[in-house]
Amino acid sequence: MDILQILLNESFWAATLRIATPLIFGVLGALICEKSGVLNLGIEGIFVAGAMAGWMAVWFGFTLWMGLLVAVIVGGTFGLIHAILTVPLGLSQHVSGLGVTLLATSISYFTYRTALPKLSSPPKIEPFQPLDIPYISEIPFIGLVLAEQTAMTWLALFMVVLVWWILNRTPLGLSIRAVGDNPDAVDAQGLSVYGLRIGAIVVGSSVMALGGAFLTMSAFDSFFFGMVNGRGWICIALVIFASWRPGKALLGAILFGAFDAFQVRLQTEVGAFLPSQVFLMAPYVLSIIALVIVARRAEYPRALLKPWFKGAR
């Protein structure tokens, strides 16, 4: 099997989409936060919290969709903490975000171990199964790729459209974009800068939590410490790659997923000649290169990282 054959194989693209799904949620969540002018480095911890909360809700008898709702609420709660610290209090967004990551991660582990103290192997739930949509699997190639996906991947793709539509086609989206570019103007219009930013961070964090929930409720069926494994941080880079645009965010997530799906296959093929670490490094190196090329022209929200205080000049 040579390289071309790998790329033309539908299972490769199915894997790409599976790997990309949590990143799509994460990058959309981060994008919503940053569009309003606030960086949310709590993402890695919110991923963990979403993964744990959603999974545990199902373990204790909730349905999968209720589990997702629990993940969304937990994600939003950690978002609210970040929002209060960074918006009305105007604290460092970096420090607060990292604080939220540490807090959310530790609380998740603590809750997991407290609720399930005596275990020798992690308990399993019945996760989302590939969605059987009539006629879809009859489309050549693409159909086979999509037929392997679960409802959460469809949800992620739908969210891309939804976020794009809200940001670019609604008055709410206009005010979110404005508050990330020029909060003074938003304030002059009589809109609440604090309200818009806090709302955007809470909603963005809820979306991030879905990315974590995907890992325990669709990609796998149990919760492990450390299973998020840096996926949140990748999303932060992907937002820059995406130049804060939902469509490009989808592209970036899929590109990263493709790099990763490609490296596992390549490692299998030519692992005898190169150390495995070279392949594992590849998606990150390629992402950095892509970032360097694309980010030079990125149009970032002008008020990003700048706290705003009412009445201050």
């Binding site: 990609a219 450390g226 494994n229 799906a261 299998t268 005898a272």
Partner: protein, 330 residues
């Protein structure tokens, strides 16, 4: 106004001190060996769980008092070691693959405390003993079963990191598979994480796409992929056959009881010294065993494996220990 003692500052401090003494897990009963476990991963991780279960059993028998800290990062590990050492435990059990030098320094600072650590290096006098999961023997036997079961003659292997204790088992497994199937070839991947089941699963799918029909499940996630595609898998360290019905042909199981109990006995009779406890994971000491599913493995292979098992037990056959990183056949 004179406050009752319990509300004064001194009273509260004294109360808190007393309370912490009462709550302290390593106080009471002097004749029991006080053991602390320090693990870099959660106690339900495969490898750690084997140590944890053995120590739990010793506690249930009343031989030891056992406390543990899990998910301790390598950078924090030394502090936790010193904290337990200062608290007066007799024996510290853990794994120091990521901090060999620092851990040995701590052991040198507390010569009266026994250390029994998972390590890739030699023991250090007077008190630093080492162990590792030397279950290459059952791994070899499980390889024999995998080799016979592969119809495409391709076996996929997913490992965490390419470190000696992982490589050793993979190499023994591959040797075993070659014994029953001289045409077999291997696909080898490392995911550079102990805990990323989603990634392990994706790697497994990739290998199955490339023709693998038997998977060596070193990590969580591999057997899940095998179930989804209707392939077979070989377990490692723990027996997960109940979780993956009709999938796990056999598993090489690690038992830490022999290692832990030997160390506890040595500590309690004062004969503990720096030793290599690796041998207690060998089959002859009951440290390793093979479980196989006789409904999935043909009878002739079962008898072949049983014969080899007997040969290993009586010492007439020795499985080679090879710590080199395995690579895909091409």
């Amino acid at each position: 106004m004179k406050l009752p003692l319990i509300l004064t500052r001194r009273g509260i401090l004294a109360g808190a001190a007393m309370l912490s003494m009462l709550m302290s897990p390593i106080s009471a009963m002097a004749d029991e060996v006080k053991v602390a476990g320090i693990f870099t991963l959660p106690v339900d991780q495969q490898w750690i769980s084997r140590i944890h279960i053995a120590l739990d059993a010793a506690q249930d028998r009343g031989d030891i008092e056992y406390v543990y800290s899990e998910n301790v990062s390598n950078t924090d590990y030394e502090r936790v070691m010193r904290e337990y050492a200062e608290n007066g435990v007799n024996l510290i059990v853990g794994e120091v693959f990521g901090l060999e030098r620092a851990a040995r320094k701590v052991a040198a600072d507390y010569p009266d405390i026994a250390f029994l650590m998972g390590s890739s290096f030699a023991p250090q006098a007077p008190n630093f003993s080492v162990f590792d999961n030397f279950i290459h023997e059952p791994a070899y036997l499980s390889g024999m079963i995998a080799g016979a079961a592969s119809e495409n003659n391709v076996i996929g292997m997913i490992g965490g990191y390419a470190i000696p204790e992982v490589n050793r088992l993979m190499n023994a497994f591959m040797e075993g598979a070659r014994e029953t199937n001289s045409d077999v070839s291997f696909l080898v991947n490392f995911i550079d994480s102990w805990y990323d089941p989603a990634k392990a699963k994706e790697s497994s799918f990739a290998m199955m796409d490339a023709g693998a029909d038997v998977m060596y499940a070193e990590r969580f996630g591999v057997s899940d992929a095998a179930v989804e595609r209707g392939m077979k898998a070989i377990g490692n360290v723990i027996d997960t056959s109940a979780d993956y019905p009709n999938t796990i042909l056999a598993s090489a199981i690690w038992h830490m009881e022999a290692t832990v109990d030997t160390a506890i006995k040595a500590v309690s009779n004062g004969s503990y010294s720096a030793d290599d406890y690796g041998q207690y994971s060998f089959m002859a000491h009951g440290g390793g065993s093979l479980v196989l599913d006789e409904s999935l493995v043909p009878a002739d292979i079962v008898s072949l494996v049983k014969a080899k098992e007997a040969a290993i037990m009586d010492g007439s056959y020795t499985v080679v220990i090879n710590d080199d990183a395995p690579v895909s056949d091409k």
